[in-house]
């Protein structure tokens, strides 16, 4: 021992760590986006993020299961002809594909998701909505989840009913066999396990909107975010 008072770095380390953590609330997401973009070429080699960026959110105790033999999509409400689609009939509809980002309102994003499915206009061609129909109700097989879009929102060019993701049939946790995809809105509008679509006079608050979320869930300009 040389007798000199040792340096007191402990408190500094504690405060610096807490400060870095708290300030990361301002810079964490942009920095993480850059890091994950830099790491993405190595995806598969380095299991850096074991979730591939997804988190699976459910509101009930178990996820609905899918049986191709018995599954049906019912489309009704303010339509000229009600429609009951089997899984085989769904797959026989005109197929479209798109690549879009998926944003969750809690802050995470999955980039470049490859979706395959059908456009809502192809469903409309079969059911013929009446002039009074200004909204769509999307009902999930996971009770009591449902949500709404206005007619204008549902007809955005990149809205689809997706039955495949990244070249594979939609996995159970992603809403098999069919989910709504509306990339311009946060994930809670992208209803999973679709079992019914009803044409209604106007859009109403959905599951999360009853709990305080915005009805028009535009990415970056709703739910308290201003990008």
């Amino acid at each position: 021992m040389d007798g000199s008072e040792p340096k007191r770095y402990g408190r500094g380390l504690f405060l610096a760590t807490v400060a870095a953590g708290l300030t990361s609330l301002a810079w964490g997401k942009p920095v993480w986006s850059r890091v994950s973009a830099a790491l993405s070429p190595a995806e598969g080699l380095i299991p850096f993020v074991p979730t591939s960026g997804w988190r699976i959110y459910t509101v009930s105790g178990s996820m609905p299961s899918f049986d191709p033999a018995t599954w049906r999509l019912n489309v009704g409400g303010l339509v000229e002809e009600e429609l009951v689609l089997s899984h085989r009939e769904l797959l026989a509809l005109p197929r479209v594909t798109q690549v879009s980002d998926f944003h969750c309102v809690t802050g995470w994003t999955v980039k470049d998701v490859h979706w395959t499915g059908v456009r809502i206009t192809d469903i409309f061609a079969k059911v013929k909505p009446t002039p009074e129909a200004n909204g769509l109700q999307f009902v999930s097989a996971e009770k009591p989840y449902l949500d709404y879009l206005t007619m204008e929102q549902a007809l955005l060019h990149d809205v689809m009913l997706a039955y495949a993701m990244n070249g594979e049939p939609l996995a159970r946790e992603h809403g098999a066999p069919l989910r709504l995809v509306i990339p311009e809105m946060y994930g809670y509008k992208n209803v999973k396990w679709l079992s019914q679509i009803n044409l209604v006079p106007e859009a109403q608050p959905g599951y999360w909107e009853y709990l305080g979320y915005d009805r028009d869930a535009w990415v970056g300009r709703s739910n308290g975010y201003h990008s």
């Binding site: 402990g10 301002a26 810079w27 964490g28 802050g107 159970r172």
Partner: protein
């Protein structure tokens, strides 16, 4: 064999309450975080409740142990942690303890923001989830090193006795912590 007391009852209680709370939150957190585990376990609302109230209970229990235990002894330990040089704890152990305490505070802050942000946009920050996840990864790195040294590494695993019974052998203490133990 002669023994020397290394950790007080309060310090040991604090350590094991912290460990128990951390593992409860780690398990429930991984079920919420990893899709495969989410699917396997299901019952997300219940797991979410256990995770949130487990987190609140974890911090509350740590505060209670500190308040009801040997506060003067804990203050002495805190002052010792200030000096990043070997004493009763080596430098690595001190850094581990300091980071663990800072991470607990940040886990609590980001966890509360995630919980209340679900109901109120004033508490909703896009980076909160990045912070909570980042803390998980950083904690796992610390935990892996800590468990290796406490359970596996032959030269250091004797220290586990200090954290269970409170005492370590004088011979071991003399070899590993000469600045603390000099009979």
């Amino acid at each position: 064999m002669s023994w020397v007391r290394r950790f007080s009852r309060t310090e040991r209680t604090l350590h094991w309450v912290n460990a128990a709370g951390f593992f409860l939150l780690l398990v429930t957190g991984l079920i919420l975080y990893l899709p495969r585990l989410s699917i396997l376990v299901g019952r997300r609302p219940t797991v979410k409740d256990i995770h949130f109230w487990g987190g609140v209970g974890w911090i509350a229990a740590l505060v209670l142990v500190a308040l009801l235990g040997d506060r003067r002894g804990l203050l002495r330990t805190a002052r010792d942690l200030e000096r990043l040089q070997p004493s009763r704890l080596n430098v690595g152990q001190k850094i581990n303890a300091i980071l663990t305490a800072a991470f607990a505070l940040l886990f609590l802050a980001s966890g509360l923001l995630l919980h209340f942000g679900e109901q109120d946009t004033r508490f909703r920050w896009a980076s909160t989830v990045v912070l909570h996840d980042g803390l998980l990864y950083a904690s796992l790195v610390l935990l892996t090193g800590h468990l290796y040294l406490a359970l596996i590494h032959p030269a250091t695993r004797h220290s586990l006795r200090g954290m269970t019974t409170g005492k370590v052998s004088e011979d071991w203490a003399r070899r590993h912590y000469p600045r603390w133990f000099q009979p």
